[in-house]
């Protein structure tokens, strides 16, 4: 059977250092997966490989059964995979509305059209309004992206990611830098907007992980050492070792 997203022995080296050392992962359609792991485990690199920002050194990545490794980011996006960024990556000099509209245009087939007016594209405009309501930024529609507050910018980041209607969504630390109450609201928001989609998210906050994920993938030194339900992962000996090891290392570093 074909998975929504499948990684087969993916490796990535930068110069001599191998960051991803044979990662395997098979995500079924509709699953919500949280990717956790200590700092420097290669979580963000893994996202960059899947989304096409970098090409893997070796190995295969399949999206809905089709190979996507080595493709350009826009080619991967057109096949139904969309990602967000750890640091908000917005169209700063455009309004909130225009930011979202830019993200829906391709998926609605408007491509590089210069013979039709944006104002007449009812499908794109309606979809944009709908997204704005979903991410609760409809009152900010005419504000420039650069003038948003931190939490609003994060919401817009998610909005741009989901606007194109991709079936596989990658969120890179969506709640990083948010307060507790904001995080709570935000998890609910992510749950709502990714309803029925395959979701992969990198997270540090364990509260978010258990609140959001059906399954957890543990990435340590460029390898997926466990991929299971939250409870099973918690009980996994290798995971405990890896996390305990990092805790030990941290306490030693603090003592030194």
């Amino acid at each position: 059977m074909s998975f929504a997203l499948e990684l087969r022995d993916v490796r990535k080296s930068f110069g001599k250092s191998e960051i991803i050392r044979g990662a395997n992962l098979a995500v079924q359609a509709g699953e919500r997966v949280a990717i956790i792991g200590p700092n420097g485990a290669g979580k963000s690199t893994l996202f960059n490989l899947i989304s096409g920002r970098f090409a893997p050194t070796s190995g295969e990545i399949h999206l809905h059964g089709r190979r996507i490794d080595g493709s350009k980011p826009y080619e991967i996006n057109r096949q139904g995979l969309s990602r967000s960024f750890q640091v908000s990556n917005l169209f700063t000099r455009l309004s909130v509305f225009e930011n979202i509209r830019c993200a829906v245009l391709w998926s609605l087939g408007h491509r590089y059209a210069f013979w039709k007016f944006l104002a007449d594209l009812d499908d794109a405009n309606d979809r944009t309004e709908q997204i704005l309501e979903m991410i609760k930024l409809d009152k900010k529609r005419d504000v420039l992206a650069m003038n948003l507050t931190y939490a609003e910018a994060r919401a817009l980041e998610i909005g741009i990611t989901i606007a194109g209607g991709s079936s596989v969504i990658l969120l890179d630390e969506p709640t990083a830098g948010m307060s507790k109450s904001e995080t709570q609201r935000f998890i609910q928001l992510i749950r709502d907007v990714t309803e029925g989609k395959t979701l992969l998210t990198v997270e540090h906050d364990m509260g978010v992980v258990f609140g959001l994920a059906d399954k957890i993938a543990v990435l340590v030194y460029g390898e997926v050492i466990a991929f299971d339900t939250p409870d099973a992962v918690r009980a996994n000996a290798r995971v405990q070792e890896a996390y305990l090891g990092s805790v030990l290392a941290e306490t030693q570093a603090a003592a030194a």
Partner: protein, 431 residues
């Protein structure tokens, strides 16, 4: 920025119709107000300049692409147009003069497509460097092909060909002006329309954040390439109109200084606003024709203006106008006008002092044989004497010092006014 305020269910935008009507009216009546031969020549050049600068701004303002070689597309348009005009005159090409600019446009489009494919692969500094290199390359190549470029002398032609249609021969300057005006209006409208299409908007997105554009399904290279080609098309039309206007085209039209002028005046006019380059183009002709008549040091003055603009008003004249219009709309301009008067007065004093010195230097370098005396602004100055130099430098020092004082005061006042306006906006929102 004001584009964002559009609601797509608005049935009819009265303001927009009014502005476009006004633009058409200005194009129509301008040569009836300024009827002299010089004025009509200048107006024609302004019309052409508007198309060229707006085309350039598709790259600079809307796409964030700093091109140092855009004159080769308007230049190629001019060359191809003048050859087409010659062929039409010889009867080998059945094309009326009024459509010759389209030949120029097509030439610009084809060359932009050929050469732009490489440069648009990159953005930022590499893009700028590649355009600079290609610009020099094509300029040098054109001079090496005298059959095409006419060598040093250029290619000349005659625009009065064939039978007059409705009495229009394009002999008199006024008829050429109206041809340019019609093209200017249509091209401006078309380029404005482009800003409101999916491609135009994605071009803005590519300017702001090319990386993210790739993750919403668009190929940034292709977006830049299409914009570049369209810009080349309009630049070519401007070149073609220029060929009809001057009836002679030489290598100058492709020179880097022409590319530099597009960049400089588009920036001065205001690259962040659609209408900024229109102001820029008008300035370009005024500086090129009038200022260069007035003083040999005109490029130096232009450089100074550019420098101050980059430092203090990077949005160009368009942003200065719009910011003050906003202040005026909230009825706060009365608070600022004394400051403006003081700014203008002190700046004028410093400028007169600096200009006196510049003119004296130029006089000593260029007109030594005429003796040390020169006439400047109604006064006779002795460029070899101490008193003129002392007076001029005194004027500069005092002018600059007072200007700085006034400027600080003005910045303070401006901040207060802006705060008031913000409060007023909040208050209105709350109602």
């Amino acid at each position: 920025m004001s584009q964002a305020k559009e609601f797509h269910f608005k049935p009819l935008n009265v303001g927009r119709w009014f502005i476009w009507g006004l633009f058409a009216l200005m194009l129509f009546v301008a040569p009836r107000i300024w009827t002299s031969g010089l004025a009509q020549t200048m107006l024609t050049q302004m019309g052409i300049g508007i198309i060229a600068c707006l085309a350039y701004n598709i790259l600079l303002g809307q796409g964030g692409m700093l091109s140092f070689g855009h004159a080769i597309y308007s230049g190629m348009g001019a060359f191809l147009a003048i050859h087409a005009l010659n062929m039409a005159g010889a009867g080998t090409l059945g094309l009326p003069v009024s459509l010759i600019p389209l030949v120029g446009g097509l030439a610009g489009l084809v060359f932009a497509a050929l050469l732009g494919y490489v440069s648009t692969k990159k953005a930022g500094t590499p893009f700028a460097m590649i355009t600079l290199g290609i610009g020099e390359l094509v300029f040098a190549l054109a001079l090496m092909l005298p059959e095409f470029s006419g060598g040093e002398g250029g290619v000349s032609s005659n625009r009065v060909i064939g039978q007059a249609v409705l009495g229009i021969t394009f002999g008199p300057q006024i008829q050429v002006y109206y041809l340019v005006a019609i093209y200017c209006f249509i091209c401006t409208a078309a380029m404005f329309a482009l800003t409101r299409t999916p491609l135009g908007r994605m071009l803005n997105a590519v300017r702001d954040n090319p990386e993210r554009v790739e993750f919403v399904g668009y190929d940034t290279h292709w977006v830049r390439f299409m914009a570049f080609t369209i810009s080349g098309f309009f630049a070519g039309i401007a070149g073609g109109l220029g060929a009809i206007n001057t009836e002679i085209v030489n290598g100058e039209v492709m020179h880097a200084s022409r590319s530099g002028a597009y960049l400089l005046f588009t920036f001065l006019g205001g690259a962040t606003f659609f209408f900024g380059p229109i102001i820029g183009a008008v300035l370009m002709v005024i500086c090129g024709v009038l200022l260069s008549e007035l003083t040999k040091a005109w490029l130096l003055y232009l450089g100074l203006i550019f420098l101050f603009m980059v430092m203090y008003a990077p949005g160009g004249f368009a942003s200065l106008i719009l910011m003050n219009l906003r202040v005026a709309a909230f009825g706060k301009l009365s608070k600022l006008w004394t400051s403006y008067l003081a700014l203008a007065g002190t700046a004028l004093a410093a400028l007169v002092g600096a200009a006196t010195m510049i003119e004296m230097v130029y006089h000593r370098q260029l007109n030594e044989a005429l003796g040390p005396e020169l006439r400047f602004m109604g006064a006779t100055l002795n460029s070899a004497g101490v008193d003129a130099w002392f007076g001029a430098s005194f004027l500069v020092v005092v002018g600059v010092a007072l200007f700085e004082l006034v400027r600080r005061q003005y910045v303070h006042e401006w901040g207060e006014v802006q705060e008031d306006i913000e409060k007023e906006i909040k208050r209105r929102e709350a109602l």
